[in-house]
Amino acid sequence: MKAKAKKHFINIQVWTTHFLGTAERGQALLTLLESIDGGRWAPERWNTIEPIRKPYSRDSAGEIIKCWIEDRPPGSGEVYNDLMFRRTKPRALILVHALRLGTGGLNSIWMELEAQSFLTGDGSDRLKAILQGFVSWSDGVYGSVYYSGQAHKRTVQMTPLQRLDQAYWLNFFGQPYLDMFGRERILRAPCHAVVEIPGHGLVLQAAPRFDSPEITESDKLLIALEEYLGPDAFAGRGYPKVPCRVPSFDLWETIPPSPRVYSQ
């Protein structure tokens, strides 16, 4: 299993209804990225667009934050900004998106890491800690940890505003999902463990490890989890023609104070 996992990667993604493009969140993000998982994923390069080539250091924080909070047109409060970070040995790619535009939408952080770094006994706990760090930083409403070796793979577009794409090894459910599924129902889910992130929500852990045989050799466990939570929330049955059941999201932070009227 270890030899096979060398080629694999882990995706950690967290979505939030909060607007992330503030100086406070930006500073906290840089601190988080430099320290998370013992600092082994500290960025080496950054940029707002590709290619991601600008050398990253504490001295670049001022420029990064300036780019991160910039509204365009100036003074409009409208933001559509990205921060991208990368590093090698161990390899990581991070994409953070701040959006306050039009009718609003979810902001997000996405990180891709080589799976090899998590093959040790503490690997699963370290991944849980990274997910928890992202949830706490962003006040997330939904998050997931995907292992590229997992058997259950469903590719569907869009965001949790439209659907949950599938169940994962780790699934974080914030308040909107506690309201929709029911907190007690999530706590009783047929899975390895359910862990609370105080003040944020519940992490549902499907199996002991991301590379447990129940995850890598069969899709049954994760599909059973979807069936238990409510298959109409997941994009497995006729989506996008058949809309998914989604919670009520409060997007007010991601709508500009004075939205412009757009026309073609």
Binding site: F9, E50, P51, R72, P73, Y80, D82, G102, Q264
Partner: protein
């Protein structure tokens, strides 16, 4: 009758595009020859490369015009908002009989990434409540941040393969899940 006309236009544009691609292939051969002999390309050769690439890009855009049913766009978007430029002018903008409300870009590039122009295209599509369509060449590759943005926004990708357009969005997005 209209269908016959459409088929004829498509066929002519396909020929033009293929011819342009052929020119590009010749140029790639010339470049390899230069590299092998450690020679520098002449100004004539550089100008030939630019012309061949422009011709191929125009032909791809022309073929996408037929697919979308939209003429080349002249409307500016993101005035005073675009990244590093005064405005953007997407290749296609408006209601397409084929796709509905779209903002489209035709890209004849070896690799596409989440650079300023494409990021602006995603922003403009969000502002205009349109879907972003990317019309790309057969060999065009995509960076992972760009694939991730396509995944999250519902943008669609059409690839020009074997003289026809093919929706390759789902196929491309599977790469985000795969360790290959």
């Amino acid at each position: 009758m209209a269908q016959t006309q459409l088929a004829r236009e498509t066929s002519e544009l396909e020929k033009e595009y293929d011819a342009a691609r052929g020119l590009n292939k010749i140029w790639v051969g010339i470049k390899l020859a230069f590299k092998a002999n450690e020679l520098l390309p002449t100004p004539f050769a550089l100008s030939y490369e630019g012309a061949a690439l422009a011709h191929a890009g125009d032909a791809l855009e022309g073929s996408a015009e037929v697919l979308t049913g939209l003429g080349r766009n002249s409307t500016k978007v993101l005035e005073g908002v675009a990244e590093g430029v005064a405005f953007r002018r997407p290749d296609f903008l408006g209601f397409s009989p084929t796709f509905g409300n779209i903002l489209g870009e035709a890209k004849d590039a070896a690799k596409l990434a989440l650079r300023g122009q494409l990021r602006d295209a995603f922003r403009a599509a969000k502002e205009l409540n349109s879907t972003l369509y990317l019309f790309v060449a057969e060999e065009t590759q995509f960076s992972r941040p760009l694939l991730q943005r396509i995944q999250d926004t519902g943008a669609r990708v059409y690839r020009y393969v074997g003289n026809e357009w093919k929706d390759v969005t789902d196929e491309l997005l599977k790469k985000l899940r795969s360790s290959e």
